[in-house]
């Protein structure tokens, strides 16, 4: 697992440097979540929707580890003619649904979960949301519906890295008390350390009945590279050569 996590972070950093793209902080905060989902949780007919579509590169790097996309395709990130859009695209093998505008992934996931439940199909649906998406009206519309219809085949993971695009979440639109809000919407809610493999696995495998499951994953934006951690500059900025090399060294040492 450590190797996969190291590889994903290394590829995210290298490709962000090469493509001069944004959102590296948002990618680094979900690496452990994606690694656990793709190595231990998702079964053949399960569905995973990355609703925070701007973290596409983290998903592409995970799909590469799972051999769902080739190194040629992965390395095309940032070049002309690539299919690897900077917001996740369903044209890429292994990607369930295109997102990019926040607040779209959850309603789609709810539709899928509803269809499976009505047809008594055992597939599970997972959606990974950003904390910024807690600002979106559709998130709460979907929760009302999912809870009313007891969609216990739906698991929502919130990447709670506490920083949205322009500032800390509590400075933009405070979403606390988040757990209380989600509980009051009729969901089973668990709060975990979103970088702890065991905690992620346990919360995802916990039996769930009659209610949608929500996992608030407390994470660190920019996790794994000290100067990027908890700094919203890295929502937009891409590293220069010096920052790239420092970052690569840090990843090598921290995830040896």
């Amino acid at each position: 697992m450590n190797k996969i996590i190291r590889n994903i972070r290394t590829n995210i950093l290298n490709l962000t440097y090469k493509a001069k793209s944004s959102h590296i902080g948002s990618c680094l905060s979900i690496v452990e979540i994606l690694a656990v989902l793709y190595t231990r949780i998702l079964k053949k007919n399960d569905r995973f929707i990355l609703s925070k579509g701007h973290a596409a590169l983290a998903l592409y790097c995970t799909l590469f580890e799972k051999k769902l996309i080739s190194s040629k395709i992965l390395n095309s990130f940032g070049s002309n003619k690539t299919i690897l859009m900077n917001h996740v695209s369903h044209k890429v093998n292994g990607v369930e649904f295109s997102t990019g505008s926040l607040g779209h992934g959850l309603p789609v996931a709810v539709g899928k979960a509803l269809k499976f439940k009505m047809n008594k199909e055992k597939n599970k649906v997972f959606a990974l949301l950003s904390d910024g998406e807690m600002n979106e009206g559709t998130t709460w519309e979907s929760l009302l519906f999912a809870s009313h219809h007891k969609l216990d085949n739906l698991t929502i993971i919130i990447d709670y890295n506490k920083i949205q695009s322009m500032d800390f979440v509590h400075n933009v639109i405070n979403i606390e008390p988040l757990k209380t809000k989600l509980l009051s919407f009729g969901c089973n809610v668990y709060e975990i350390n979103g970088h702890n493999i065991l905690a992620i696995s346990r919360s995802l495998t916990r039996k769930n009945k009659n209610k949608p499951k929500i996992i608030i994953a407390n994470t660190i934006k920019g996790k794994g590279i000290s100067f990027m951690e908890n700094n919203n500059l890295w929502h937009y900025k891409n590293p220069d050569i010096k920052e790239l090399n420092t970052g690569l060294n840090e990843i090598k040492n921290r995830y040896a």
């Binding site: 369903h90 649904f97 295109s98 997102t99 990019g100 505008s101 607040g103 779209h104 959850l106 309603p107 789609v108 996931a109 709810v110 539709g111 899928k112 979960a113 509803l114 269809k115 499976f116 009505m118 047809n119 009206g137 559709t138 519309e141 979907s142 009302l144 519906f145 219809h149």
Partner: protein, 289 residues
């Protein structure tokens, strides 16, 4: 037209594939579907964006979804869900809107459908399904049953008298002859403006033929182009603003070509209507003449 739509949908939904979503409306219309398929109809509540996203989600699992609402709710309110989730993914969702033009005359400007073509025809995969009578509606639903895809079905609020059933085959860009007349000069309509068009024809264009185009949209432009060039003059009539409407779409079809067909358009006056009244009153005052 609403009741016939539901009747046909029930008839076409025998396979376990069709779902119907509503946003807390459809009283005295949707009941036959609910009775026959209670586990395939869902009231999404007053939340159009979630409803449209869910429609995409269900459709992405190899189902056909019909979303039934009043025109303003099922279009502009959830425009991005239609653009990104349905049209981009090319999913078989038919967005059904009731109250074309000023159908909900007394409910006011918020409920008038005067710009919906403009929005819906800007999506590359979206077909516009705009029936003018019951036969066209049945033909359209047969087409969409055989060719499930993103589509926008625009229905008249009023029920149409049961005319003698005549099976017609419709397809994108194809025209249907309603009144025989001049071979080169025609009136071409879309949607529920047949009576209006017949009156205008009698007053001003007595010898013109009358045709309708029940299916159009971006995908149908090249087919429409090949039809337009057969005529010298086309008068379009619609219950929508000119901007982004059917007449302007038809002109776009022959832009940058050497087709010389003269196209004139009649439409609802492009302004915010600040008074209410019956559909007939509003059409008489603001509608095509």
């Amino acid at each position: 037209m609403r009741k016939l739509f539901i009747k046909q949908l029930v008839q076409n939904s025998n396979k376990k594939k069709n779902y119907l979503l509503i946003n807390d409306l459809g009283y005295n219309v949707i009941e036959p579907f609910k009775k026959k398929f209670p586990d395939r109809i869902f009231n999404a509540g007053v939340s159009e964006q979630n409803m449209m996203g869910m429609a995409a989600g269900i459709a992405s699992e190899k189902c056909n979804v019909f979303v039934y609402s009043i025109a303003n709710f099922s279009t502009f309110r959830c425009a991005e869900q239609i653009r990104n989730d349905i049209d981009y993914h090319k999913l078989p969702v038919t967005i059904v809107s009731v109250g074309s033009g000023v159908g909900y005359g007394n409910l006011g400007y918020t409920h008038h459908a005067l710009q919906d073509y403009a929005l819906m025809r800007s999506f590359p995969n979206m077909l516009i399904l705009s029936p003018g009578d019951n036969n066209e509606l049945i033909g359209l639903l047969d087409y969409i049953k055989k060719n499930p895809q993103p589509s926008y079905l625009r229905l008249d609020k009023n029920e149409h008298e049961e005319i003698k059933f005549k099976k017609i085959t419709v397809s994108p860009g194809k025209i249907v002859k309603l009144i025989n007349g001049n071979k080169k000069k025609i009136i071409l309509i879309t949607g529920c403006v047949q009576n209006l068009a017949k009156n205008i024809r009698l007053k001003k264009y007595k010898d013109y033929s009358l045709y309708s185009m029940p299916i159009w949209g971006m995908l149908a432009k090249s087919k429409a182009k090949s039809i337009i060039k057969k005529f010298d003059e086309i008068i379009t009539i619609e219950d929508h603003f000119y901007d982004g409407g059917f007449g302007s779409w038809l002109k776009e079809c022959i832009n940058y070509t050497n087709i010389k067909t003269k196209i004139k358009s009649k439409y609802i006056r492009s302004e915010i209507i600040n008074e209410v009244g019956s559909k007939e009153y509003l059409l008489k005052k603001y509608g095509p003449k």
